[in-house]
């Protein structure tokens, strides 16, 4: 039984933690919150230099030859730091999609630049405030032209290209579009988490290249989303740990009625609940990491389990961290809301919790669990 990260992976985690503590303090995150800068360019550069953007990219395509377990480790630290960079869009979504569905040529074209952080990619499916589904997609892809509007597009205002889920005569299909080309209009839009930039992107006869088989777009999207869900879940447990750490620190130093508020059961039991939820989420995440790194047949179940547990843990911890802080926690000046906003963003960005719970049971029922799953 070796159900843990390796010593090397733990060293990577420590290194990432130190790097981010240095380069991505909450004050740095706040700078993005309060400025018009869409993301922390310096940090992005630094992260790329560390090789993180290419962590899971094979060396032949310019990656540094780590794997997905290493990427999980990095994701947790990015979540812990609340990093204001397009990492999830470019790495979990765009890079993964191209690795899964790209032609050799597409891989050669995109992966080295993505791995180096020279190119920022994103993936977009949503068209407004309803769950995107094949039957309701209005963005079309015909004759290598995209038409229609996607919103919100994570990092849509800064990404160099987007993988667009669009309807074609063959059914949903993935298309790679250069967002800086003509026929593409993009406007920044505000979301609940201004430390992560989003846009409305409108395509008008915009040129794009097919990714994967025509009509296979939805299937590919689901595969990419499962992988991204596991990586995001690691961000979420990192964010949960930070929320808990903040709450714990405040509960120790804040006194009321002549004693630290952390000595009151109403507070201490809530902290215990944050911890419990995060440990349950962490264990689900580890299973997800195993599934991701081994490409296990049980990945859909593992992804949904990690997604559900980590989403609940982070939402709970971020919300109750504010409550533990009391009045000060409700101010703009306090850092509590950074995690409250991020928690909500992450709980929506790959589809709602309610849907993921449905899917989890779906997947259990359709019996995707096979021999490769963990021993009972």
């Amino acid at each position: 039984m070796n159900f843990d990260f390796s010593e090397e992976q733990k060293m990577l985690q420590e290194q990432a933690n130190k790097f981010l503590a240095d380069r991505c303090s909450l004050a740095a995150v706040r700078k993005i919150l309060e400025s018009d800068e869409p993301y922390d360019r310096e940090l992005w550069k630094g992260v790329a230099e560390m090789g993180w953007t290419g962590a899971a990219v094979p060396e032949e395509y310019g990656g540094i030859g780590f794997g997905h377990l290493e990427l999980c480790v990095i994701a947790e630290e990015l979540g812990r730091a609340n990093a204001p960079i397009p990492f999830s869009s470019s790495v979990y979504l765009a890079t993964e999609a191209i690795m899964i569905a790209g032609t050799e040529e597409q891989k050669q074209t995109y992966l080295p630049k993505l791995a180096a952080g020279d190119l920022i990619g994103t993936l977009t499916v949503a068209e407004g405030t309803k769950a995107p589904r094949p039957s309701t997609l209005t963005v079309t892809f015909e004759n290598n032209r995209l038409n229609g509007t996607k919103i919100p597009v994570a990092d849509g205002d800064i990404a160099d290209f987007a993988i667009v889920v669009a309807n074609s005569s063959d059914g949903p299909t993935l298309a790679i579009a250069d967002l800086t080309a003509s026929g593409v209009a993009r406007t920044p839009v505000k979301t609940v988490d201004p430390t992560r930039s989003h846009a409305r992107v409108t395509f008008e006869e915009a040129e794009a290249a097919q990714l994967g088989d025509a009509g296979d777009g939805w299937n590919l999207l689901l595969r990419v989303c499962d992988r991204a869900a596991i990586l995001t879940a690691f961000e979420q447990i990192g964010g949960t740990a930070s929320s808990l750490r903040m709450a714990r620190g405040y509960a120790l130093e804040r006194y009321a009625f002549g004693r630290p508020i952390g000595s009151f059961q109403a507070i201490k039991h809530r902290l215990a609940d944050m911890y419990i939820k995060n440990e349950l989420a962490r264990s689900n995440c580890y299973y997800g990491a195993w599934a991701l790194s081994t490409d296990a047949a049980d990945m859909p179940v593992a992804a949904a389990g990690a997604r559900v547990a980590a989403t609940e843990a982070f939402n709970f911890a971020a919300k109750e961290n504010i409550q533990v802080h009391g009045g000060i926690g409700c101010t703009w000046e306090s850092d509590c809301h950074l995690f409250y906003r991020r928690a909500k963003l992450l709980s929506l960005n790959l589809g709602s919790l309610m849907n993921w719970k449905n899917w989890l049971i779906d997947r259990i029922e359709t019996g995707s669990r096979v021999e490769e799953s963990a021993p009972a």
Binding site: T129, R133, V189, K190, E253, F257, R259, K344, L348
Partner: protein
């Protein structure tokens, strides 16, 4: 058991309805959707409305005539408020002054002071605020540190208050200070009222998570207050503060919208994989819970009105309303965003159902779980005052204030 007014109540309600119909529309602030007026203009409108109410005898009706009221039974105030609530009027400026400062002045000020200040307060000529909380004294208000030192016939105040609603437009304030740190904390407090334009007062707005600024920090540097403006004896300020806080508990009520009706409307409009969200059983389980909570609070309010109507003093209903409605607000907003799936994170009014109302609510909800008594303090109050549970162990009741551990703050 019915919802009917008594004949006298019905008569009064008719009278109020007629008066409001005649007068309220010109003060209506719902001219743009949830956008605030220009602050100065809003204040002017508010003062004018308050004066009109006072002139018609509808302001502070339960107060005695000499202080601007007319000794009306409390149920009439409730009826007036219900009817007034059907309009969108600029009444928010006065709630703390009339709800908390007024009763405190009525209980502790001299007759002359009352005659001087209360009628002006009732007419909205003066607006009052309350200065209790401090950065290191929130739930534990009695742990406050602002010093008051006697100098001749005056007191010199130094320190900082926080969470003061409306400090920037207020004329007067009530304040509790520490006049003696060498005695246990509840025993060294002294209470005053003061002119908010006094030299040495510096008011700075506090920005909240939602970006709004409904509260202020107020800094005091050698602010001089005449001893004549002391309320209660030196060292007995806590007793005065309790009077104010008891009135706060009654004043704190329902959290703001979005309400369950808004969420039901959203569920009707939202299409899920299975069809309209309102038909989805998972959605329904949640809606049903929030619906019965909402109804429970609504009919609980009717029960309280009934008690008032019979001349009884209402119990701790307001605490229940606050505890239940603040969490409900937070959970409903979070859930509404889930219904919008990926797009739920959008805060663009023109791209979001109900113009982003639920997203806004998500950001201001945390404040309502804290303001006017945290969830935790209110549960303590219910457990102790209603159910008679013992207080937690208190280590701060017998020690000199300055010896008390106070942590890093």
């Amino acid at each position: 058991m019915d919802f009917k007014d008594t004949p006298r109540e019905a008569e009064f309600r008719t009278e109020v309805q007629a008066w409001l119909k005649e007068n309220a529309p010109k003060f209506n602030v719902n001219n743009s959707t949830r956008a605030s007026l220009d602050p100065d203009e809003g204040l002017k409108l508010g003062k004018a409305w308050q004066a009109a109410k006072a002139d018609a005898g509808y302001a502070c009706m339960t107060w005695p005539e000499e202080f601007g009221g007319r000794s009306a039974p409390p149920i009439e105030q409730v009826i007036y408020d219900q009817e007034e609530g059907k309009y969108e009027l600029p009444v928010g400026y006065f709630s703390i002054g009339l709800g908390m400062c007024g009763p405190t002045m009525a209980a502790y000020a001299t007759d002359e002071q009352k005659k001087q200040h209360l009628p002006r307060m009732v007419r909205g000529d003066d607006i009052w605020c309350q200065l209790f909380s401090e950065p290191a004294a929130g739930s534990d208000v009695a742990g406050l540190q602002m010093t008051a030192k006697q100098e001749g016939g005056d007191w010199i105040l130094n320190g900082q208050k926080v969470w003061t609603s409306g400090a920037h437009f207020c004329d007067w304030g009530i304040i509790v200070t520490r006049s003696d740190p060498t005695v246990p904390k509840h025993k060294g407090l002294t209470f005053f009222f003061l002119d908010m334009k006094s030299p040495g007062i510096d008011i700075r707005p506090i920005e909240q998570i939602s970006g709004q600024s409904n509260f202020n920090e107020v800094f005091f540097e050698n602010v001089r207050v005449p001893d004549a403006q002391r309320l209660g004896a030196v060292g007995e300020g806590w007793g005065v503060a309790i009077t104010t806080l008891m009135n706060e508990r009654l004043a704190v009520g329902n959290a703001p919208p979005p309400f369950i009706t808004d969420l039901i409307a959203l569920a009707r409009e939202t299409e899920l994989d299975s069809g309209p969200a309102i038909d989805d059983t998972a959605v329904r389980q949640n809606l049903a819970d929030w619906y019965v909570e909402t109804q429970g609070l609504k009919y609980g309010h009717f029960r309280m009105m009934t008690a008032l109507s019979k001349g009884e003093t209402p119990g701790p209903e307001a605490s229940i309303t606050k505890v239940v409605s603040a969490s409900k607000l937070q959970n409903m907003c979070a859930f509404a965003m889930e219904l919008m799936d990926v797009g739920g994170s959008l805060m663009e009014p023109d791209a979001t159902p109900h113009e982003g109302f639920f997203q806004e609510g998500f950001l201001y909800a945390p404040g309502f779980r804290v303001a006017g008594g945290t969830d935790e303090i209110l549960r303590n109050i219910i457990a102790e005052r209603v159910l008679g549970m013992p207080q937690d162990i208190r280590v701060d009741k017998t020690v000199a204030f300055r010896e008390l551990p106070s942590g890093a703050q």
